[in-house]
């Protein structure tokens, strides 16, 4: 068999790729979920987050069933809102990005909570400031299958 340099290279790269692919997939799955602090830092880029009236997180005080906890967020003028549940096995919940035709910077949804905890909402404003608000929810039955 007559292999030139190019063919050998191609074969080597293909071989490496098939070995690397399953490994990287496995690495991704076993990586520890990011903590709430890491997620906040990623969202804000290290900027200060002030506790403020600019963002409102509405959640029930007591949720009998953690599988469907209704929440709503409202931050007039914000461009994005990040919602976190730090007490869940994976803290991120959702990230809302409001477009030019958003009628208001607010949204409602239903989320899962594994245990009693403070749910956190962080709003990003176009001027580069961040505001946070949190709401304690008592959960009787956890919602993450545990």
């Amino acid at each position: 068999m007559n292999l030139d340099r190019r063919e050998v290279l191609v074969a080597a790269v293909a071989g490496a790729a098939t070995v690397a692919l399953p490994f990287s997939l496995a690495a991704q799955e076993t990586a520890a979920p990011k903590t709430a602090e890491e997620l906040i830092a990623e969202f804000t880029g290290g900027a200060d987050v002030v506790e403020g009236d600019g963002v409102t997180l509405t959640a029930p005080e007591i949720a009998e069933n953690g599988n469907t906890v209704p929440i709503s967020v409202d931050a007039p003028g914000a461009s994005e809102i990040l919602v976190l549940a730090p007490g869940n096995p994976t803290p991120p919940v959702a990230r809302f990005t409001f477009g030019e035709l958003a009628g208001s910077q607010s949204a409602s949804t239903r989320i899962r909570l594994a245990q009693t905890q403070d749910v956190v909402a962080i709003a990003k404003f176009p001027d580069g400031t961040f505001m946070r608000s949190s709401s304690n929810v008592k959960v009787t039955i956890g919602g993450c299958g545990g």
Binding site: S72, A85, A94, T97, A102, T109
Partner: protein, 109 residues
């Protein structure tokens, strides 16, 4: 494709120019969180809708990045401003690559 995925959207038929309307959406989806264990004790792999977007005549209304903490049958309620008659496009992106879409027209009153 996950089974029985059916998007439902409630949009008013008409609106005044620049009126802000409330939109409610629900899509049936099991939203398997990847935390639950099956009967055999094995963890059921994650299978969720990870993104939901809404546009009106091509302009963005809302774009939601979703995580496993969103409940089964994801529900979203939000508001949109209607500058002209046109069409809403609602799009949900599934982990398995499926894309579900619904369209609703709105006329100026």
């Amino acid at each position: 494709m996950a089974d029985n995925v059916k998007p439902r959207v409630r949009v008013p038929k008409t609106a005044a120019k620049d009126e802000v309307v409330t939109i409610k959406t629900l899509i049936s989806h099991q939203m398997e969180s990847g935390q639950r264990k099956g009967k055999d004790g094995q963890i059921i792999p994650r299978s969720i809708i990870n993104r939901f977007t809404v546009t009106f005549n091509g302009a963005s209304v809302i774009d939601v990045q979703m995580e496993p903490a969103i409940s089964t049958n994801p529900y979203f309620e939000f508001e949109a401003r209607i500058p002209e008659a046109g069409e809403f496009v609602f799009t949900w992106y599934d982990d398995d690559g499926s894309v579900y879409e619904d369209k609703q027209s709105i006329a100026l009153a």
